[in-house]
């Protein structure tokens, strides 16, 4: 229980997040899937930080949390503006741009 367990759990959560991003159509849930991916990275970093006995991983995790919060805020603002002009949230129907 240690190194391998952390890697397996975080790889699983990361892949679940990737799958969620690829199969879901609602941008809110896609954003939540990205949060899952970032969470798995945090878990990996904190796990390694404890095995390697350095705090770099914890610092990195802290920075990732800050950035993720900023990213979510901007993302939700973008989703809100698109909802105000379209009144719909399905990435398959958001297709003005193509060629």
């Amino acid at each position: 229980m240690g190194h391998q367990f952390v890697l397996i759990i975080s790889a699983t959560i990361f892949c679940i997040g990737t799958a969620g991003f690829l199969i879901r159509k609602n941008p809110l849930i896609m954003l939540m899937s990205v949060e899952l991916m970032l969470n798995s990275v945090n878990f990996l970093l904190v796990g390694y930080s404890s095995f390697l006995k350095t705090l770099d991983g914890q610092i990195f995790a802290l920075i990732i949390m800050t950035v993720a919060a900023a990213e979510v805020v901007v993302g939700l603002a973008i989703i809100l503006t698109i909802f105000r002009t379209r009144h719909e949230l399905n990435v398959d129907h958001i297709n003005v741009l193509k060629g």
Binding site: L52, I63, K98
Partner: protein, 478 residues
């Protein structure tokens, strides 16, 4: 426990460009309060800020300098790229002044965000620490998400922002997982220590490091829009406001490429046997899909998007070269690319008017008869992008191909030359429309002195660097 940082490692002079530009970016926000309706003043303050930043890049002598526990590096590469970033941001601000007036983008935040984005690029070009590279990428990306969607009542702009945001956040996930694995494999986030460790130790064969490298390749691939992670580029380039498109085609892409270079060519050359094949494949695919995609486009911004994808394919060859020859050709390519792209976009902006951007290539028919000078300028930029001598695009390509040849990538160079020939087809298509077709519509140009100035500057740059490339080349090679 004692503080770990040695006091002499805190070197504020080395991060002077970041500090200067941050102060100006915040100053622009404050000035916005007093600026009233017209934001032109803010644009000029921003340009002064960029100029000061470019000057402050030379504050440090005796390069390379490593500061903040080796996490921030001032070397020749970073100084050159700071100059490229300030140049491209200044040009982007210049072409956006009239565009913003015309399209009713009355947000002073626009200029502030461009400056903050440039801060992110400078960080990206100078950092030798995974945490800082991640922060640099995020600063750049978050600014660009907002800038792409800054026309809030415009459906296309909204959509571009949403697509860019979702795929950008997704790519960040991959990038971070790769960084986490690299940290796990080596126990440090510092690129210099990682490079030392790989050189001295048996970490070379570490699968963690390799899988981390693959994930980093995916993450960076998204950020520089290389195939197969290029899907967002055409949509985002088309939907974003034109000056923002030009801006993100040059500055942020150059920043991501220089970070790419730092991570792969400078840190991981010892395990290059492993990522080299992958990168060669990506490079070839990027050239082909970019060029073949561009042939089918009818919208000029989409065409340029695919063309910029194919250019990334050529530039990735510089990362493959790995040595100073590679970094020099990277620098020279980005300088010429900046001139060409901003020239083209300045003309695109000129050809549109309020409510009608005139972005279909059809709409350019007959431009050669009605406005011969502008059509001539467009022709020069198109031929230069296609890589015809004696223009700058040719020298840049020649230099990068030559560097790749010296490292023995013969097949890759042959394919790249072939692609260069394919790309001429769609660049010439634009020229054919301008000179050989009857006009299908009235031209109502919005020519202003500032946009003309940008076009003139770009023309001078494109021709000058094509005929006398030596000054910039020797600067890049130093």
């Amino acid at each position: 426990m004692e503080p770990i940082l040695a006091p002499e490692s805190i070197d504020l002079v080395s991060i002077a460009p970041v500090l200067v530009l941050t102060v100006f970016a915040m100053g622009v926000m404050v000035l916005d309060l007093f600026a009233g309706k017209s934001k032109t003043l803010l644009a000029f303050v921003s340009i002064v800020g960029l100029l000061m930043t470019a000057i402050s890049a030379f504050a440090k002598v005796g390069l390379p300098v490593f500061s903040f526990n080796d996490s921030y590096t001032v070397d020749h590469l970073s100084v050159c790229f700071i100059l490229i970033f300030t140049l491209s941001s200044a040009l982007a601000i210049l072409i956006s002044i009239d565009y913003n007036d015309r399209e009713n983008i009355k947000a002073g935040e626009f200029y502030s965000l461009v400056l903050f984005c440039t801060v992110g690029m400078i960080v990206l070009a100078s950092s030798t620490d995974l945490i800082m590279i991640f922060l640099g990428i995020e600063i750049v990306s978050i600014c660009l998400y907002v800038l792409a969607g800054i026309r809030r009542n415009h459906l296309k702009s909204n959509e571009a922002a949403l697509k860019y945001f979702l795929l950008g956040a997704f790519a960040t996930g991959f990038l971070l997982y790769g960084m986490a694995l690299m940290y796990g494999a080596t126990g440090t986030t510092n690129l210099i220590s990682i490079a030392d460790l790989i050189k001295s130790d048996g970490v070379k064969s570490e699968p963690l490091l390799m899988i981390g490298a693959v994930l980093l390749l995916i993450g960076f691939g998204f950020k520089v829009a290389s195939v197969p992670f290029h899907m967002w580029a055409p949509d985002v380039y088309q939907g974003a406001p034109s000056p923002v498109t030009a801006f993100m085609a040059v500055g942020p892409k150059a920043a991501a490429l220089v970070a790419f270079f730092r991570v792969f060519a400078e840190t991981l050359p010892e395990i290059s046997f492993f990522w080299e094949t992958l990168l060669v494949t990506i490079s070839i695919l990027t050239m082909f899909i970019g060029n073949l995609g561009a042939i089918m486009q009818t919208n000029i911004k989409r065409l340029l998007a695919y063309s910029s994808v194919s250019h990334v394919g050529y530039i990735l060859m510089a990362v493959l070269v790995k040595n100073t020859l590679g970094s020099a050709s990277l620098i020279f390519y980005m300088v010429t690319y900046a001139f060409m792209i901003f020239g083209v976009f300045a003309i695109i902006i000129m050809l549109g008017r309020k409510g009608d951007e005139n972005l279909e290539i059809e709409g350019y028919s007959g431009l050669g008869f009605k406005h011969p000078v502008i059509a001539l300028c467009m022709t020069v930029f198109m031929l230069s992008l296609g890589g015809l001598p004696p223009l700058a695009g040719f020298v840049a390509k020649f230099y990068i191909f030559n560097a790749a040849l010296q490292e023995g990538f013969l097949m890759l160079v042959i394919i790249a030359v072939l692609n260069s020939a394919i790309s001429l087809y769609y660049y010439l298509k634009v020229i054919v429309y301008m000179y050989m077709k009857e006009p299908v519509r009235e031209f109502q140009l919005s020519i202003t002195p500032i946009t003309l100035f940008v076009v003139a500057l770009a023309i001078i740059g494109t021709i000058q660097l094509g005929i006398f490339p030596d000054p910039i080349l020797s600067l890049a090679q130093q």
